[in-house]
Structure formats: structure tokens, C-alpha cells
Symmetry: C2
Subunit: 418 residues, 2 copies
């Protein structure tokens, strides 16, 4: 399938992230107006909430866009998702007879602020990239014990903190936390000195479930995907994470891209997980390709400086797919809900410059990497980190929009009150 | 302070769990009517939503009880909580001139079904009981390495799954999961054989926070407390929990008692955490007593059999208070929200029969305990487990209502579809 042409001319450029093939779902506000559901098309956002209000978009069980989040649409399920997409393709397609009715509801992207596209119910983060797990395991436990014994049998996950998920563009404050250096007898409370990114893809659960679901059922529950940066304080993590896992190290913020790229838009880019080193138990076996070929990159821009792309990798590097992770998530009977967000785990490739965290890129700080005007082991104050993702189709591209955040200096000691 | 007498005569019995001193917050439904906010008083529930509708209870920013959960009241903050309590003491107190207006809104507890008292935003579970941590640590790592190095410095916590929190009386289905025995080369997918309880107290966050808060501020954010049973599949946990903590082992269900006992009701029972073995850093130091003297017990009733009380302990055994846990939870800047639920961690005392889990009571299954008509190492199908909590005041008691759940047999293999 090639480019689907639109009368929105900017959407037809072969490298534009938002062609008619994409139609990603976001929430925008213009001037001081209230946030509204919108869909990106070329250089514009289409005010789909207005289309629904005016009866141009009629959905079963509607109105579904009378709230400034996509959750009602997400909960409505795959048939409604298909109906929205079909209707938008019809209205926005080249030669559509509805152009006159629709065009007044296009707003230039340059004039809007993008908000959280959905209300996050709960957030789960996984550890499902083979290269990342091997790199981190080698650093912490030595090459021979790099992969934990369970790693090849289950997509290891832990629950994160939904309240800390923010949209791209939100500044991130360097956290304080309790840390203990190997040479110190006692811990100290101080700003994190090893603040880091994790390049991930986030799967957004649309339809809820009760009881265990298969991988195929899990795949059908996923509404779409976002880019996700799971900011991580490595020094806090090292002290706190045994025996019950990361907690405050991961709770400062998790940034997502403003656009949910739907599963339908990603369909042409499906690819398989790599061959299994050991066979998976039946509940984790995939009925078909469940990963996607999404080229990913990380840019780092020091304050006042120029961006350096510090990593390039691809989502197809993952060992477990989001559908497998979601299926695993339900094995215990855990109910899943509309708006649940599943982080893929850090996406690192086999090459040195394909690593999705500074921890790996600088090998624990021992091999600082070169950036414009200096070097980096971990994030410095004022640095802006941006994730980008692109699917390259036949004459078109699918983009997620930037997933970006600037790190601000830590505040003064929050417990030393005047 | 002694018993506060009410014209609701049943509330004046010295051992009744719901005297006027208590006024715990719940949600009830009668016959097929919609659930409503209510407060327990003696053998009745007072329909406080009706009082608000009729103008007998006027709250700033109201209506706050027009939804069948306490979240709006919780979010309104300590002044509103105090106003609700003061007004109820006035209306229900012995000799109140408003008895005629209020009495029609009393409903016998025997006629109602109790629902979730609040909407759980996120659920965090801690590991803050010294005896429990020592017992479990000794079993898994030996007596010399029982306490992890960080244990005396931070209240170790991990994020749980809010979607799995259910109210007392909800049946709990034995989960399936991936497990691996020490003598097996490969894991298997099977029903849990080591399904267990964890006797805990849950702190319910009322007012939200952004940025780090002190222990005193954290205490003021807590609306009240519930009993909490964190059902745990020990065999699933043993295989999955390294390196990132418990996940599916804890996601089947967490049961809470139907009544939130407010902080005001617990005030006379405050007591201090034990002396610190090593000094805490300033952000975790307590400005005063933050635990409560709450006698706790666990009952186990086999299907068709009689109950055996298998454990008796007290919340004052904890090493860290909920206020310390909540303060720690915010150190990274993690936003806390109305409806967040913090599990204390398993509450075990020093004695053998004061242990808050079967794992500890049966010492990993090696020393089965006696119950009516048999023995138990872990939960068997049909067993009903109940937690109870009581504060013994001067001529009165404060109760939480039972926190109960029956364990049903596992379903057939969920992945073997016909």
C-alpha cells in the first residue's frame, strides 16, 4: 500500500509524519480554549470533536468525543475504531465531496498546544529488550549472569506510576532521592546524579478485559502506540530496587508523545519477534507478527547548544511484543482497563550507538559519549532529550510526533523549610 | 475520652464496632437501588447522601456525596472532613433535636450490600513490618541476610495494581501463573499451589500532592484507614520477582474492608513507631506518634467448617508508619492523588501466632498449622479468610468491619479454548 492522498496538500509530502495513512489521535487546545480531541493530518489538526458535534461523524454509543481525552473512543472497541478511521479517510481523501464542510475544522498545528491524548488508568513498564537486559545485566551482574533465569520465559514487568505520566514538552525536574554509594556506610538524601532516559514504545489499552486473554485477544485490545521516555534515576534505583523493584527511581516522570498512532496505521509495518532461544509456554505464543518496524532515534540538546542524535534503533529489536506483555499481564486474572499504558522496556539494538539509555551508551558512566560541544555520561541540567519514531512506507512515512522533555535543575532541599 | 452516646441505642454498646466515636465511611446499596454514601452507626447505616440532598448536611464546594464513592469528600480536604464529623456528631448525639429529621435516613445494616467505599486511583504496597521482613528474609536468604541493606533506611515499596482491589465479600479465584520448582529445568503454567494472604492496613489518601511532602504533611493528607488483604501467590512470586519485583503474584485481588475509619476516629489510639535501630534521614523522621494501636486478627474457615483464628497481632508492630511511607512516596516528585491506597506491608508480631501470612505461620509450608478439622500450609479451595481490626477505647471500641473473601477453585486452563 502506498500513500493515500488527501486534499490537505501538506499531508501528501512523502516524508511528512502525518499523511492520511496515519490519522493519529491527540488532544489539542488553541489559544485559551478548552482541550479537544483532534487528529493530525499534514500540517493541521482536524477538530474531530467539532465534526461529531455537527453530525459529520456519527458513532455508535456517541457522543464519544465530548470529553478532552480519547478514552471513550478507546473503550468503544475495534469496530468503532474502524468506523472512525473509515469515515476520516472518506472525508479527508482526495476528491472528497465533503471538503467544504470539513475544511473549517482544520487548525494549523503551529497554533495549538498538545495535551495528554488519554487519561492513563495504570502504567506498567516492561524489561523486554534482549540487548538492553543483556547490557544492564552485564554491568550489574557480569556477562555470565546477565539475563535473569526467568527472562527468556516471561516478559518481566513491574507496575509504574500513572500519575507521573506527562505529555511531550513538559519540563522534568531532576529528582531528589535516597542514594548510597558503594564506599559510603550510610545513605544520603540528595539530587540524582545519574538521571537517565529510557527509549520505549508505549502500548495503549483500548478495550478492557476480565480474566486471562490470549496473545491474539491482547493484540485486538490495543488501541495504538505512543513513544515513551521512562526517565530513570539510576543512583536512586541502585539503592532501592532490591528486593521489590524500582519505585521512586521511576516515579518522577514518564513522557509520552502527543499522538497515539493507531494499530490500523501501523498494520503495514508488522514484523515478527526474533526466533525464540527457548520455546515459550502456550499462553505466550504469538499467532502472527506482533512487533512493528519503527525506526527510532534519541536526540540530546544541551541548553543553548545543538542537537546530537545519540542513538538509533528500531522497535523490531524487542524480544517480546506488547500483545505478549498484555497477555502475560492478565494471567493472574488481573483486570485490564481502558487507558492502561504498557511500556515496552528500553529498546536497544546490538550496536553501540543503538542503545536506548545513557546508562548503556556511556557504559555506566565509564565511556562518556560525544555530543555537540562536550560529552555526556548522564543527563545534565538544561539538556533536552527527544525521542522520534518513523515507519517508512512505500512513498509515505508514519510519525508519532516528538517525545521531548527538558531537564530542569533540582529544587533546593525540599525538607529544609524556611 | 470515653463513649460518645447516641440516640441510636445499638451504637452505645461498649463492644459495638460502630459507636458515634467511629462514623466510618462506606457505600451501600439496598435492594436494587443505586449505591450511596453512608456512615455506619450502631446496627445501621446513615444515608448521608440523602442528608446532603435534603440540606441537612451542607458542605463547602458541595454537593460532595452525589457520587457513590467518597472521593469528592476525600479531595475536599481536612476542614471538610472535620465539618462532616462535627455535623454528624451533632445530629446523631444523644439528645439531638434533629432526631426526627435524621431517623428516616437510617437503614438497617442487615438490609444493605456494601460496595467499594472509594475509587482507587493507584495502589502501592509496602514491606514495612520488621517481623515479617525478618521472617521472609530468613526463609529465603538465611538469618544473617534476612533484612536487605536498605530496609532500615527506607520504607521499601512497590506499585501494585489498583484494578484488582475489591471490597470485602468478593470471591477470589485461585490464579494460574508461570511457576518453576527448584527441581525443574523449565517453568510450567499451572494454578498457584501456594496461595496466601497478607494481613495489612491500607491508608487512603485524601488530599493530593505535587512535589515532596514532609511526614507531618503526609499524615494530614490521609483521610482514613481500611483493613487490607493482599492476596499473594507465593509460587508465582518466587519465579517472577527477580529483578523487578512482584507482578502477577499480587495482581489477582487485594481485598479491603468496606468501611474507611477516619483519622479523626483513630486519633485517641495513636502510638509511636519502635525505636530506630539506625537513625533515619530527616525526610523520614516523624514529628510525633504516627502508628495506631489496632488489634488485628485473621480467621480461616474451611468450606462447611468452623472458623479458627490463625493469627493475632497489632498495627503498632510496624517499623514505618503510613505517613512515612507516603512522604517517601513523594521524594522523587511523584504526584499523589485522591484515592491512592497504600498497603502497610504484612503486619506480623514477634510471636509465632502473631504472623500475618500463611507463608510465615507455616514457615514456608514446613510447619502446617492446626485449623478446625485439619491443617493448613497455604489456602485451600473453599477457604474463607477474614481480617478483623479493633481499637479498644475507654468504654467503647472502634471497628473496621470484616475484610473477608472466599477462595474459589481455579478455572480450567484459560488457554485451552474449546
Amino acid at each position: 500500500m502506498g500513500l493515500i492522498r488527501s486534499w490537505v496538500e501538506s499531508a501528501n509530502a512523502p516524508d511528512h509524519p502525518f499523511p492520511l495513512n496515519n490519522l493519529p489521535c491527540g488532544v489539542f487546545s488553541r489559544h485559551e480554549a478548552k482541550p479537544r480531541c483532534g487528529v493530525a493530518i499534514g500540517d493541521c489538526v482536524l477538530d474531530v470533536a467539532a465534526l461529531e458535534e455537527r453530525g459529520l461523524l456519527v458513532l455508535p454509543g456517541g457522543p464519544l468525543m465530548d470529553v478532552p481525552v480519547w478514552n471513550k473512543v478507546m473503550q468503544a472497541g475495534p469496530q468503532v475504531w474502524a468506523a472512525v478511521r473509515a469515515r476520516l479517510l472518506e472525508m479527508l481523501g482526495e476528491g472528497s465531496g465533503e471538503r467544504a464542510a470539513v475544511e473549517p475544522h482544520l487548525v494549523p498545528l503551529a497554533e495549538v498546544a498538545l495535551q495528554m491524548p488519554f487519561l492513563v488508568s495504570e502504567y506498567t513498564d516492561f524489561y523486554a529488550g534482549r540487548h538492553h537486559a543483556t547490557n544492564v545485566g552485564t554491568m550489574f551482574r557480569g556477562a555470565e549472569n546477565a539475563l535473569p533465569p526467568n527472562w527468556l520465559h516471561i516478559p518481566i514487568g513491574y507496575n509504574g506510576r500513572a500519575s507521573s505520566v506527562v505529555v511531550s514538552g513538559t519540563a522534568v525536574r531532576r529528582p531528589w532521592g535516597q542514594v548510597k554509594g558503594p564506599d559510603h556506610a550510610l545513605p544520603a538524601f540528595q539530587p540524582s546524579r545519574r538521571f537517565d532516559i529510557e527509549l520505549e514504545l508505549g502500548a495503549v489499552v483500548g478495550t478492557p478485559s476480565v480474566g486471562p486473554v490470549t496473545v491474539a485477544e491482547a493484540d485486538a485490545m490495543i488501541f495504538g502506540y505512543v513513544l515513551l521516555n521512562d526517565w530513570s534515576a539510576r543512583d536512586i534505583q541502585a539503592w532501592e530496587y532490591q528486593p521489590l523493584g524500582p519505585f521512586q527511581a521511576k516515579a518522577t516522570a514518564t513522557t509520552i508523545s502527543p499522538w497515539i498512532v493507531t494499530r490500523a496505521a501501523l498494520e503495514p509495518f508488522r514484523c515478527s519477534t526474533p526466533p525464540r532461544e527457548v520455546p515459550l509456554l502456550p499462553h505466550l505464543q504469538e499467532p502472527g507478527p506482533m512487533l512493528y518496524d519503527i525506526a527510532l532515534e534519541v536526540g540530546l540538546t544541551p541548553e543553548g547548544g545543538r542537537e546530537t542524535v545519540i542513538a538509533r534503533t528500531n522497535y523490531r529489536e524487542m524480544y517480546y511484543s506488547a500483545a505478549q506483555q498484555l497477555a502475560h499481564h492478565t494471567t493472574s486474572g488481573c483486570p485490564m482497563r481502558t487507558g492502561d499504558l504498557l511500556g515496552s522496556g528500553t529498546i536497544s539494538g546490538p550496536a553501540k550507538d543503538a542503545r536506548g539509555s545513557l546508562l548503556e551508551l556511556s557504559w555506566g558512566g565509564k565511556e562518556p559519549i560525544a555530543i555537540d560541544g562536550g560529552t555526556r555520561s548522564f543527563i545534565e541540567d538544561g539538556d533536552t532529550l527527544v525521542l522520534r519514531g518513523t515507519c517508512l512506507g512505500d512513498g509515505y512515512a508514519i510519525g508519532f510526533g516528538a517525545c521531548s522533555g527538558q531537564v530542569l535543575p533540582a529544587l533546593p532541599d525540599p525538607y529544609r523549610r524556611p
